[in-house]
Assembly symmetry: C2
Homo-oligomer: 257 residues x 2
Amino acid sequence: AAKTICVANQKGGVGKTTTVINLSTSLALCGKKTLIVDIDPQGNAGSGLGHGQGAEDHPTIYDALVEGKPMGSVVQKTPIANLFLACSNIDLTGAEIELVSMPEREFRLRKCLDQVRGDFDFIIIDCPPSLGLLTINSLVASDSVLIPLQCEYYALEGLSQLLNTIKRVKASLNPELALEGILLTMYDKRNNLSREVAEDIMKHFSTKVFKVVVPRTVRLAECPSHGKPIYFYDKQSVATQCYLDLARQVLERSGMA
Amino acid sequence: AAKTICVANQKGGVGKTTTVINLSTSLALCGKKTLIVDIDPQGNAGSGLGHGQGAEDHPTIYDALVEGKPMGSVVQKTPIANLFLACSNIDLTGAEIELVSMPEREFRLRKCLDQVRGDFDFIIIDCPPSLGLLTINSLVASDSVLIPLQCEYYALEGLSQLLNTIKRVKASLNPELALEGILLTMYDKRNNLSREVAEDIMKHFSTKVFKVVVPRTVRLAECPSHGKPIYFYDKQSVATQCYLDLARQVLERSGMA
Ligand SMILES: Nc1ncnc2c1ncn2[C@@H]1O[C@H](COP(=O)(O)OP(=O)(O)OP(=O)(O)O)[C@@H](O)[C@H]1O
Ligand SMILES: Nc1ncnc2c1ncn2[C@@H]1O[C@H](COP(=O)(O)OP(=O)(O)OP(=O)(O)O)[C@@H](O)[C@H]1O
Ligand SMILES: [Mg+2]
Ligand SMILES: [Mg+2]
């Protein structure tokens, strides 16, 4: 059954969606059947792959999570072989409030994904920038957490809050939850700040930090407007190589290389 | 009584906190008594001003919002003349769930700020990257909304969701709510993407876009780690001038120049 990885960080704009799209595409290129689950109401994972926001009437993750629709009906194909997508939509903003009073509210996404885990090698979840119920649902539904970390001060500061939340979820809701790793993103070798943050993280988390460091490159900011992952937008970009390397490291760590 | 401006955008990492800290500091430097209200559980506005996360036992906005403590007890001085701060803390993450079942849940922040509006010229609210109850509370408590907009694709895409939410709040909860303006941030003149996004915004929102455009500059990423606004970290930085100009434009638009 699928290995489920949730990409989370409550700090905004650190590269969660960019990592989900490009890691998942790289896993698909390696022949692994991969499902992206977008649980962020912004719906950026969908649009970054060229799916217009709420374009057609296709069921979304909201329908499965809150209304109990079968998860199979939410899964859509993408133009990329081996890559599938469960879109989010704006109704998810209200889901936080609707989920509060539901029984087993933290387990609803897990129950949805249980219906399709047999169909995929990997399920990768894109989380919103918060530690609310949608992110908790993702942590409960996952085998591990991948933390994109922007090499800047506020992002570094938020890491301990995130690790505490992961520890609490592991202790009370999902004992299997492990840390897949910390991915340094938007690294700018020209400035001291990036270097200082990277050194700080390497010192405290050494084995947990992926060897791959994603540099700040405008190519990653450009590709969403073309609805394509970096591999299909600019094969020569350093970012394309980074995310292929990341996929290989994830495969090695999961014993699926 | 104070003019209250909420700085909001559900897209993460677009420069909300950076704008709150530096606009507020510039208003304070212009002699206006200014209160920063940090309603983001991340608490970055506090740490960007050198207040350690949850360092002392001082009451936070959580205590006023959820427990009904007097707002006056939450307001703290900062090292900068005319600038005051109401800190957030991590308990706010749970506040979204606690507020759901409270009476008049959307008006709780407004009631808190009503207690102190007479003591300030401006109140500036830093919102979390979401359109949940904390941001709704901020929109209901404010006279106007300032929208920082990163010059990148996902940020542009999220704008219509944000404007819809503002329209709905104005129609049902706060008829006085106006758009203070859209501030273009992290503008990089070397790449086409920034130029295309900026042109797109100017075309659709012309009079609503501030003449000031904040360029991407590493100085703004560095100053939070020194706990200082840009004016006190690097007076010569182009960003210092931008945020002073922004304060002047806000004062002009409010007839307080
Ligand atoms: N390495 C990079 N170099 C330059 N730009 C990048 C890089 N990674 C991502 N970006 C751009 O930075 C912005 C933020 O990235 P992204 O949206 O993936 O972050 P996020 O954590 O998903 O944000 P949110 O918290 O809003 O969900 C996007 O415009 C994206 O295109
Ligand atoms: N004009 C700029 N140039 C370069 N870096 C900037 C600029 N403005 C802000 N930054 C940096 O970019 C990061 C994101 O900015 P900031 O934290 O203010 O955004 P935010 O919208 O408040 O994020 P969140 O959604 O997490 O609350 C921070 O590390 C900040 O220091
Ligand atoms: Mg995202
Ligand atoms: Mg912020």
